[in-house]
């Protein structure tokens, strides 16, 4: 049963993607449904297995490594698989409005959407350094394809810049893989580490792979491509880019440092990775505050929030690990909700320039509410998923007496309050100054309500994550990285 569930996670969306691409038209909706709807069932089966045994692994078609590809699931991978599936499904509900699966335009969109879902699931399942490279490339190509799907000049430029940098990042990663293989003679993420030590070549390889992944995940100061890309993509695409695509690269950095190099990570590097995170939090937040466009503000907020994921390195331990993972989860939900709400605002008002959105809440009450609720989680106010993760992270910083990190976490929260209250104040301003766009290409009222409800669901999920964090935290504590185990 578990083997079928694991295979389904990758192959159902992949086959559906091929089907939608090959046979566009009336059947499109059916293919999309067949590719996405069974995924939660697969995950329920998988969750049962992980809860029972801790980890699940599978050698595909019975070929053991090195020639075969082995998949491996632990609680961290499982939680990201859940997030990816929920985002693909729920944001997909929103995307179905803008890109009807039976239309030609929709067919192209859904083929890429399903490919992206499949590639990210495959990445999360992989335990093989080279296979991870392959899935990373697939994720990048599918994500950029989605980003430029409407052919808008700004999106094309942003996509091109993203692609050049992402290809460069992949090369650095691949060079690191080549060096690791030359030293360890294996590509298995969990075996290679045991055969290596803190010598020059393995550390060089680790640094090369990390730099490549930092480019792909847009961690400060390599974030320059992100705001334009996430700020100019179609709404549902921005949501999945910010919620998942950049996170899977950070997930890989975690895997490299905390699993592969658990015994030989250079000590000097951990605070440096943390400093990148602190830089991201402060710089991203200040730039988010300075943006004139709402969507660019949300994009810069992603730059800032990614910084918290890098704080795992200086705050490493059971607390730090659960905190960072929970942050990944709750930020994914909240940020997806935010991008969808902003996308609705953009569709109705024809612009997302803040100076032309005064009083837009009358026209868009649901989306303003979503923006506020998602903001609660990004800020880290109780009761939200963001609060749980920030609280745990503060405890972790307190426990190691890392006062600098503590201040950065608190300052990040304050700055987030500043940049999130500004658009809310504008949206609710009286008297209203904004006028909806004349050339209304906006969705129908029913479509708007539909999109608003989908976005609200995600924002509420981010809040619920704060009310009932216990199951996820317990699961994570059963799958701590080697260095954090008691």
């Amino acid at each position: 049963m578990t083997a079928e569930a694991l295979t389904g996670l990758v192959f159902l969306p992949l086959l559906a993607a091929c089907a939608v691409a090959a046979l566009p038209g009336r059947l499109g909706g059916g293919f999309v449904l067949a590719g996405l709807a069974p995924l939660p069932l697969c995950l329920i089966v998988l969750t049962g297995a992980v809860v029972d045994t801790g980890t699940v692994s599978l050698a595909i078609a019975g070929f053991a490594s090195p020639l075969g590809i082995e998949w491996f699931v632990d609680p961290l991978a499982l939680i990201l698989l859940w997030l990816n599936t929920v985002i693909a499904l729920v944001v997909g509900l929103y995307a179905a409005r803008d890109y009807p699966p039976h239309s030609a335009r929709g067919g192209r969109f859904w083929a890429l959407w399903l490919l992206l879902t499949s590639a990210m699931n495959a990445l999360l399942l992989s335990a093989d350094l080279f296979n991870l490279f392959v899935t990373l490339e697939l994720v990048t190509v599918a994500a950029i394809g989605l980003l430029v799907i409407d052919g808008k000049p700004a999106a094309l430029r942003a996509g091109m810049r993203y692609l050049v940098l992402a290809l460069l990042g992949s090369l650095f990663y691949l060079l690191g893989v080549a060096l690791i293989y030359g030293q360890a003679g294996t590509l298995d993420l969990y075996q290679a580490g045991e055969r290596l030590g803190p010598e020059l070549l393995p550390v060089t390889a680790l640094v090369l792979m990390t730099v490549g992944l930092l480019v792909k995940s847009a961690v400060f100061p390599l974030h320059s491509w992100l705001p334009a890309a996430h700020g100019n993509a179609p709404g549902p695409v921005s949501a999945v880019l910010s919620a998942m695509v950049v996170k899977v690269s950070i997930y890989l950095i975690w895997r490299l440092w905390l699993w592969l190099a658990a015994d030989w990570q250079p000590d000097w590097a951990l605070p440096m990775l943390g400093l990148l995170g602190a830089g991201a939090i402060l710089y991203g937040s200040v730039l988010a505050f300075l943006q004139v466009r709402l969507k660019m503000m949300v994009a810069y907020s992603t730059v800032a929030q990614l910084g918290y994921l890098m704080l795992l390195f200086p705050l490493f331990g059971p607390l730090g690990f659960t905190a960072a993972t929970y942050h990944l989860l709750s930020h994914g939900l909240a940020k997806a909700a935010m991008f969808l709400a902003v996308s609705n605002i953009l569709a109705v008002m024809g612009t997302d320039r803040l100076d032309r959105l005064g009083g837009a809440d009358r026209r868009l009450p649901l989306d303003t509410l979503t923006l506020a609720l998602a903001g609660v989680s990004i800020l880290g106010l109780p009761p939200s998923g963001g609060f749980v993760s920030k609280w745990l992270m503060l405890q972790a910083a307190w426990a190691i007496e890392g006062w600098g990190w503590l201040i950065v976490i608190l300052a990040g929260g304050l700055l987030a309050a500043a940049y999130l209250f500004r658009p809310l104040a504008v949206l609710c301003a009286r008297p209203a100054t904004a006028r909806p766009a004349d050339d209304v290409r906006a969705p129908s009222p029913a479509g708007l309500r539909w999109g608003g409800i989908v976005a609200l669901m995600l924002a509420l999920a981010a809040l619920v994550a704060g009310l009932a964090p216990a199951p996820v935290l317990t699961l994570l504590e059963g799958g701590l990285p080697p260095g954090a185990r008691p």
Partner: protein, 103 residues
């Protein structure tokens, strides 16, 4: 210098040439070619890693290089298609004159 060392030095030189061109090139086509050149250098490193270990030849890196070439070609093909579209829509083949706030 041993056989392997010659190859590694060659790979480093090719990688350096690619990286240098990538940094100075403004035209996107040049940038993509530079990335391709860097990729070839990495394949060279992988093939060197495949050198005889304990007398036996390791076949896996060769399989990796083959897969890598396929991926590189697909990625570059996608990049070229994107570049053509970018040139059609914006009339520009570089990202120098970038304006993100054109809404």
């Amino acid at each position: 210098m041993s056989h392997a060392e010659v190859w590694v030095v060659a790979a480093a030189a090719v990688f350096g040439i690619g990286l240098y061109s990538l940094l100075i090139a403004a035209h996107l086509l040049r940038q993509l070619i530079a990335i391709k050149v860097m990729g070839s250098a990495i394949f060279l490193v992988l093939v060197v890693a495949a050198g005889p270990i304990d007398g036996a030849l390791d076949g896996l890196p060769k399989a990796l290089v083959l897969t890598g070439i396929v991926i590189a070609i697909s990625a570059i093909a996608f990049a070229l298609a994107l570049l053509v579209r970018l040139a059609e829509v914006t009339g520009s083949t570089s990202l120098e004159d970038d304006a993100d706030d054109d809404r």
